[in-house]
């Protein structure tokens, strides 16, 4: 069975909520829409205090090409356009809406009927990309890179195939798994739309074999869609990384930066993104809700919720049985790449794939010990880097050495820190080094 070639680790899977069907979360009483829900320029608010908005009303317009607009997911009155704490732990510009009723903008198709590509022959590639851009769709796996940018390869580069990332290699998370079981055809139509938008004939869906039901269902449905193939993959973290997935599915390696994944001819889209693309193009629905896994060993009701963006995390946890008493940490995202939250009053965003409640004893990081030179981190690194060295030079602020040792290739998957028997804070330092070196490279090229 296929998988990527270098490194990787096997964390405990803990897919507690795999058996629980997606249910709709209640409407929040107040929704907060951060203008920083994607990578790139923040959105600029276009509403002001006191404005009435409906579901699907534009709240913030894209702040540039690498940016995405933000739509209201609730109807009601704008009560604040000001800084608010978000899941990144920073106070940043956000629009707060007090919810009144549930009124939708006209033109959004809320029915469940499947619209196939054959039903809409007038759609061409350009229209599809434009629709995706207008709907504010970003990568829903967690990286939140604006999707329309990915679908416009730089001149001279040509896509050959589209790979759907249905790996969901993060432990605990099951949102993509459930979505595949419940909306398989919508995802396939979404993939067809992406294939049409970039003009390729070949589509792959990469699924790890810890989801045999999803593999069977998707393979069965994919028979009716020419050019689409389901690729079962061996379970290994971080297979859901873009570069790792390309390696696993088509066996090509992405060169070191500044090369992009498109250099291998592959465009990778998450399952959730495909579904959002389907809804945006076929149902005219902007990105206003997503599936989020709310889980944890101590949580009484681990679930997959379909929740409106802007819903406070506190409410989502309440719907899954409330916050247990011995909670030590609540993580936004999965346990490997997610980020501990400072407060539960922060809203969910386009990139919120999970909410993980950890008990006090699980959450505590062990005291770091001296490096014993075992090189486990080197073996685990899926990018073939030397994490111990990168962490050391970053700690010493030796940015030249960090750059020479390809710190910018790091995908911040956390395999090194996970595998370190001395519990060293490798990724903390590498992340600092990476962002500093990237800044240095940017300012150098600006000169």
């Amino acid at each position: 069975m296929k998988t990527f070639h270098i490194g990787g680790v096997h964390p405990e899977e803990n897919k507690l909520s795999a058996g629980s069907p997606i249910r709709e979360a209640k409407l929040p009483r107040q929704a907060v829409f951060s203008m920083f829900q994607h990578i790139g320029a923040p959105a600029n608010p276009v509403v002001k205090r006191g404005d009435q908005v409906k579901v699907g009303t534009l709240l913030g317009e894209a702040g540039g090409f690498v940016s995405a607009p933000i739509y209201s997911s609730v109807s009601g009155k704008v009560s604040k356009v000001d800084v608010a704490l978000d899941a990144s732990g920073l106070r940043r510009m956000a629009v707060t809406v007090d919810v009144e009723g549930d009124e939708w903008e006209e033109g959004i198709d809320r029915t469940d009927t499947l619209v196939r590509l054959a039903d809409r022959p007038e759609l061409d590639g350009k229209t599809i990309v434009e629709k995706i851009k207008q709907a504010g769709i970003v990568g829903m796996g967690g990286a939140t890179f604006p999707t329309h940018v990915k679908l416009c390869p730089p001149p001279g580069k040509k896509a050959e195939c589209v790979i759907v990332n249905a790996v969901e290699c993060e432990p605990y998370l099951t949102a993509d798994h459930r979505l595949m079981l419940e909306k398989p055809e919508e995802i396939l139509v979404g993939l067809q739309l992406v294939m049409k938008a970039v003009g390729v004939e070949k589509g792959y869906i990469g699924i790890e074999n810890n989801k045999p039901d999803a593999i069977a269902l998707m393979a069965e449905k994919a028979n009716q869609y020419p050019g689409i193939e389901v690729v079962p993959l061996k379970v290994k973290y971080p297979q859901g990384g873009e570069k790792q997935l390309i390696d696993a599915v088509i066996g090509r390696q992405v060169p070191a930066p500044p090369a992009l994944p498109i250099d291998t001819g592959a465009i990778v889209q998450n399952v959730g993104t495909c579904f959002a693309i389907y809804e945006a193009v076929m149902k005219n629905k902007p990105l206003i809700e997503r599936i989020i896994t709310v889980t944890g060993k101590s949580l009484s009701l681990p679930s997959n919720l379909k929740a409106r963006l802007g819903t406070p995390f506190q409410q989502l946890i309440d719907e899954c049985g409330g916050l247990p008493e011995d909670t030590g940490k609540v993580i936004g995202g999965g346990p490997m790449m997610g980020k501990a939250l400072m407060s539960l009053d922060v809203p969910m965003t386009k990139g919120s794939s999970g909410l993980l409640v950890m008990k006090k004893d699980e959450a505590r990081r062990s005291e770091p010990q001296p490096c014993i030179r075992c090189a486990k981190c080197v073996g685990a690194c899926p990018m073939g880097l030397e994490p111990y060295l990168l962490a050391k030079v970053s700690e010493q602020f030796d940015w030249d050495a960090a750059e020479q040792n390809d710190i910018t290739s790091c995908i911040e998957c956390g395999s090194c820190q996970f595998t370190c028997p001395s519990h060293r804070t490798l990724l903390d330092h590498i992340r600092l080094g990476k962002s500093t070196v990237m800044g240095i490279i940017r300012s150098r090229s600006a000169k």
């Binding site: 800084v83 704490l85 990144s88 732990g89 920073l90 106070r91 980020k339 501990a340 400072m342 407060s343 505590r364 990081r365 770091p368 700690e395 804070t425 903390d428 330092h429 992340r431 600092l432 962002s435």
Partner: protein, 310 residues
């Protein structure tokens, strides 16, 4: 025997030739370093801290000599570690004069101790302020205050800064601080300012770096500046205080140490450093006496003043 002799002679001749070659090469390609550079270097503190802006003391010495030859003055050059005495020595060697420079000191502009600024969450990542700044706001609700992880401590060559275990804030030892600025560069939030030490080391400082709006700043820290501007009004006469981005700043060059701003601040964010304790309120009407305070010879004089009045 003969072959050994031959070898010795051959090596000797080669050695002699090489020595001659090296001798003439060293004469021909000799680099004449200005001897003043060595003399200036000798009087510098040799801390190689980089506080002057040059790569080490030798670099600074070279810059001094260059400035003398090219500009004819030592303007803009200062060894913060040696201060005025060393600069006078340097000027003496180079035949220049130096203007009097006021000594400076590092000031940590945060008073968010555990008591003033309660910890909301616990950070258990790598012990580094820079790393903590990357993952969010830190342990408290203030996104401008001291992290207390000690990046500044690790950068200080003089052991002049430490993290107070009780307040979890960085603290500067004024005696040891040379104002080289390494800590100010290390702080990811720019909390540390290199500030004029002030007459008799007395100075007025706003011990806060919070640029949030008043309501947010007030909510998370008892000692925060809320940008209300009361101090600006109190200082109308000297115009030493400005409020930018919801944060008051006292211009040390204009400040006359009248302490009116300290009284005016509703949050106690303005601190009088190294000043004698204030006299009780009852003495307030004795205005002329109050004016005398700055001119009194030492700190012990002020408790005496009330006695004299009696």
């Amino acid at each position: 025997m003969n072959s050994i002799l031959m070898a010795v002679i051959a090596l000797g001749v080669i050695g002699l030739l090489a020595a001659l070659l090296l001798y003439f090469a060293s004469r021909k390609f000799a680099v004449h370093e200005d001897e003043r550079i060595g003399q200036v270097s000798a009087v510098l503190p040799q801390a190689n801290c980089g506080g002057c802006g040059f790569p080490g003391c030798a670099g600074f010495a070279g810059a001094c000599v260059k400035a003398t030859d090219e500009k004819g003055s030592l303007e803009g050059l200062l060894c913060p570690v040696g201060g005025q005495p060393v600069m006078e020595q340097v000027a003496g060697i180079l035949g220049m004069t130096v203007e009097a420079t006021a000594p400076k000191v590092a000031v940590v502009r945060c008073n968010g101790s555990c008591e003033n600024r309660p910890r909301l969450v616990e950070y258990d990542g790598a012990t580094s302020c820079k790393v903590q700044a990357m993952v969010g706001m830190g342990e408290t609700g203030c996104s401008y205050g001291c992290f207390g992880c000690g990046d500044c401590v690790r950068q200080c060559q003089f052991g002049a800064i430490r993290i107070n275990p009780e307040t979890k804030l960085a603290e500067v030892d004024e005696e040891k601080c040379t104002a080289c600025g390494a800590c100010a560069k290390a702080c990811p939030r720019g909390i540390i300012e290199i500030r004029l030490k002030g007459p008799k080391n007395r100075r007025m400082v706003v011990l806060c770096n919070n640029k949030d709006k008043g309501a947010i700043a007030n909510k998370w820290c008892k000692a925060s500046c809320i940008g209300c501007g009361k101090c600006v009004k109190a200082c109308e006469k000297f115009e030493a205080i400005t409020v930018t981005k919801n944060l008051a700043y006292i211009d040390a060059e204009k400040c006359k140490l009248c302490r009116k701003c300290e009284e005016a601040c509703p949050k106690g964010a303005i601190h009088a450093i190294n000043m004698p304790p204030r006299k009780p309120k009852a003495d307030a009407p004795a205005a002329p006496k109050a004016e005398n305070t700055p001119t009194t010879p030492n700190t012990q004089s002020s408790p005496i003043t009330p006695k004299e009045q009696q």
